[in-house]
Amino acid sequence: MISHHLLTLLVFLPSLGALLILAVRKSDALARLVALGFAVAELVLSGYFFTLDTVHTLYPAPAGFFQYENVHWIDFFGIRYTLGMDGISLLMVALTAFITVIGVGVSWQGIKERVPLHFALLLLMESGILGVFLALDLFLFYLFWEVMLIPMFFLIGIWGHGRRIYSAVKFFLYTFLGSLLMLVAIITIFLMHGAQSGTYSFALVDLIGTKVPYDVGLWLFAAFLLAFAIKFPLFPLHTWLPDAHTDAPTAGSVILASLLLKTGAYGLVRFGYPLFPDAARAFTPLIYAAAVFGISYGAWIAFAQKDMKRLVAYSSVSHMGFVALGIAAWSPIALSGAILQMVNHGVTTGALFALVGMLDERTHSREIDTYGGVWGKVPALSFFFLLFCMASAGLPGLNNFVGEFLVLIGTFKVAPLPAGFAFLGMVLTLVYTVRLVQEILFGKERKPLVMHDLSLREGGILAVLAVGAVYLGVSPSPLLELVKGPVALLVGVK
């Protein structure tokens, strides 16, 4: 029985953990252990899916999905509880589980007050994000999409720093507003489908074939695009990101950058493009422009930042521009590259935020001015810092290079001009990365700093991330194989 409902278990296991933590909230240490236990269990469970080679479902699954659950829920509206996993979602799920473990590890020492609540919120976030990646019913997707915001709001507001209240509220309102317009679009296409076919349903597979008049389709796709573009973030809807990232606690930043941003991209790939292929084609030039501009703009502004975290935040804007570029190109290579880049960015930026957090814990400062000559003091930490900065810059052999390379090749075939501009953006990436490395790791120390090198826990986290980065950079083919089928199905839709 359980084996047919593995997806539900996957989505709700972390919530169970969160409830457990809240129930035993007297002891901080216990809370941490329970959180770690559930996060690792989730990771193992998601790893299990990699080993499946046949379709395991009780319910007839749509093409490409090898895990599928479909149960009646709110029949009144035609809403069904539908979860499905294909190659793309599996990658995202694995990334989520992995980053949550990292998130738990990173905040092990750093969070001193209201510890159980913090870890419970991390696990709740995981549930929400997994729900987003697995939902195949538009209503259920929207539900998880909104639910995701709640734990992050509390994470930023309670344990953040700087203007945390402002950033938390801004984050929530900005994203909420975007998704509300998506809700109107969802309802509209639901009603259209119902009027055309007689059956009212929110299931993605049912709604895909709906004939939408061209101009209405443009508006509907625009509403979807707005919601996803805010999450990406695509220029110019990125203004919530620097504040939210900078003022969030370390685990919050890691999850925000590595996972939340990917939900926007995933949504566009899974829902936006398949539902409105014609409108998507019409919007492609706009997305190209926003993506390319975002790549360069993000890099440009990152270069001028004095706060380490803000710099990495703007670098996220820049990197996600590549993902957007690959999606907009909508060719098999470009799309595979974009999806791979989603995973890569998750690993790299997660690691960078973790590193910044570690430096912050030691010196209580995120200003670049404070640092200098760190290499001599903490060689291990500096090694990882250099590694991940190089990964972020797109050094061949490390993960980001593969993703960006695929995206550029794929895009160049269909749209050489944006690809060309994006390539220039890569140069700018190098500029701020080198600046960051140079000012923090090398050079003279500006203030006398006392730092201890990596602890076992920190070293473990960074080592695991590094292994991931190198593996993804050297041997990405298994992952590419995994997404090949779904990508072909998606692109064939266009």
């Binding site: 909104e146 945390r164 317009l181 109107v184």
Partner: protein, 484 residues
């Protein structure tokens, strides 16, 4: 001796009202003999009475029964609304015990008044004659005037009562004049007959008497549902009235006004839909927007919830504008879920408040998240539901209403509705910001939980979450209720 032939009167449709009135009158009697420490038992008695009434109401589901020559009709629509009223009265009584003890109000008469108000509401829901609706409305309103001014020692309460009375009586005048003109134009006060007249004589829509009458009725009901621009009384009255009464006022009477409004507009004037849906469109947009915008700047939490209730009336008006079965069923579902989430929020406010209605500002909630996490979490559920964030009943309600609007073709109305929802999130989040993000030395030791409030909170949270996750059954009930 000649026996007088008494015409057969079918009392079954108004049995709930009869039961409740008798119990209320009994309570008035008992109140005289009960010493003031045991007045709490009156609350228990009134709850028992409400349960008995609910049982009698539920028995009317399924087959419509009319009485008094068609002046009263107990159909599914009436049953659904009556249950909402009974719930709001019961919840208000549950949270009033702690409040009246704290404010030292002699509350023996509070419970009968709430019950009488409920009788008035129930009459409004099942009335099929303008006279009966007027009667129900007046019984409700007069009880509410007294209830609003119940705390005689408090200046704010006096002022709330007086303001409500003057403005309420003023609007009743308009409503009555509208009813009189409609009667003159169509020849009858029975809603069924009016509908028949309008159907057979469509040119009545150009009769100025009729149009003015319809407009005045709309104005009168807009006042009662606190739709802009007739909402000015709501914040002052809600802020000044005792908190449990505010909770009651925000839920039950609003629903009752909608029930009567729906009956009159949709049953009596269905063929003139295209005439007044434009008017309703403007009303809905104004109400939502005014409510949300002014709520953004409020510090006093009761005032903030008052403006939010104006905004929620606006969302319900969106369903009204849609004027299709989904829209009306959406209003029913929304009123039900709104009752529970709003009274739940007020229950928490009663707990946090101090004597003399002190401690009523948003800032006074600072630190609640740490010191009383369960209470703060419960309030969060209600606030998320009011804001329309899944997976709560508020979200499903808004979803249903906006779907109905889009189905009727009012896309822009739905868009304005969701934009307003987004704006409203700001002031609901503000409370959460204070609860969780702001530090405070307050340790909230005066916040004592009573069994009554615990039951109320439990019921409200359970309903809000259950209706958010599995609303199917209630949605079907609402749909069945509008098939008249």
């Amino acid at each position: 001796m000649e026996t007088i032939a008494i015409p057969a009167i079918n009392l079954a449709p108004i049995m709930p009202e009869i039961i409740l009135s008798c119990i209320a009158m009994l309570l008035l009697l008992v109140n005289v003999f009960v010493p003031s420490e045991s007045k709490g038992y009156l609350g228990v008695l009134s709850l028992v009475g409400l349960v008995a009434t609910a049982a009698s109401v539920v028995s009317g589901w399924g087959q419509p029964v009319a009485a008094f020559g068609g002046a009263v009709q107990l159909d599914n629509f009436a049953v659904f609304f009556k249950l909402i009223f009974i719930c709001s009265a019961a919840l208000a009584i549950l949270i009033s015990d702690k409040y009246v003890v704290r404010e030292e109000i002699n509350h023996g008469e509070l419970y009968p008044l709430i019950l009488f108000a409920t009788v008035g509401m129930m009459l409004m829901a099942c009335g099929m004659d303008l006279m009966v609706i007027f009667l129900g409305l007046e019984v409700l309103s007069i009880s509410l005037y007294v209830l609003a001014g119940f705390n005689r020692g408090s200046l704010k309460s006096n002022e709330a009562g007086l303001k409500y009375f003057l403005l309420g009586a003023f609007s009743t005048g308009f409503l009555l004049y509208g009813m009189a003109l409609t009667y003159g134009a169509t020849g009858s006060t029975k809603i069924g007959n009016i509908a028949g007249f309008v159907a057979t004589n469509p040119q009545v829509a150009t009769n100025s008497l009729f149009v003015v009458g319809m407009l005045l009725i709309a104005v009168g009901f807009s006042f009662k549902t606190a739709a802009a621009p007739f909402h000015m009384w709501t914040p002052d009255v809600y802020e000044g009235a005792p908190t449990p009464i505010t909770a009651f006022m925000s839920a039950g009477p609003k629903a009752a006004a909608f029930a009567a409004f729906i009956r009159v507009m949709i049953v009596a004037f269905p063929t003139l839909k295209h005439d007044w849906t434009d008017l309703l469109w403007i009303l809905a947009v104004l109400t939502m927007t005014v409510g949300n915008i002014i709520a953004l700047s409020q510090d006093n939490i009761k005032r903030m919830l008052a403006y939010s209730s104006i905004a929620h009336a606006g969302y319900a008006l969106v369903g009204f504008t849609a004027c299709n079965p989904e829209g009306v069923a959406g209003i029913l579902f929304y009123m039900l879920s709104y009752t529970f989430m709003n009274i739940g929020a007020f229950a928490v406010i009663v707990l946090i408040g101090k004597k003399g209605e002190a401690n009523g500002n948003v800032q006074d909630f600072a630190g609640l998240g740490q010191k009383r996490p369960l209470l703060a979490a419960i309030l969060c559920v209600f606030l998320f539901s009011l804001a329309g964030i899944p997976p709560t009943a508020g979200f499903v309600g808004k979803f249903y209403l906006f779907s109905a609007a889009i189905k009727s073709g009012y896309i822009w109305l739905a868009i304005i509705g969701v934009l307003n929802s987004a704006a409203s999130v700001y002031y609901y989040l503000r409370v959460m910001v204070y609860m969780y993000f702001k530090p405070s030395e307050e340790d909230f030791d005066w916040v004592g939980m009573t069994p009554a409030i615990a039951v109320c909170l439990l019921l409200c949270v359970a309903t809000t979450l259950v209706l958010g996750v599995v609303p199917g059954t209630v949605l079907e009930l609402a749909q069945k209720a509008v098939q008249f």
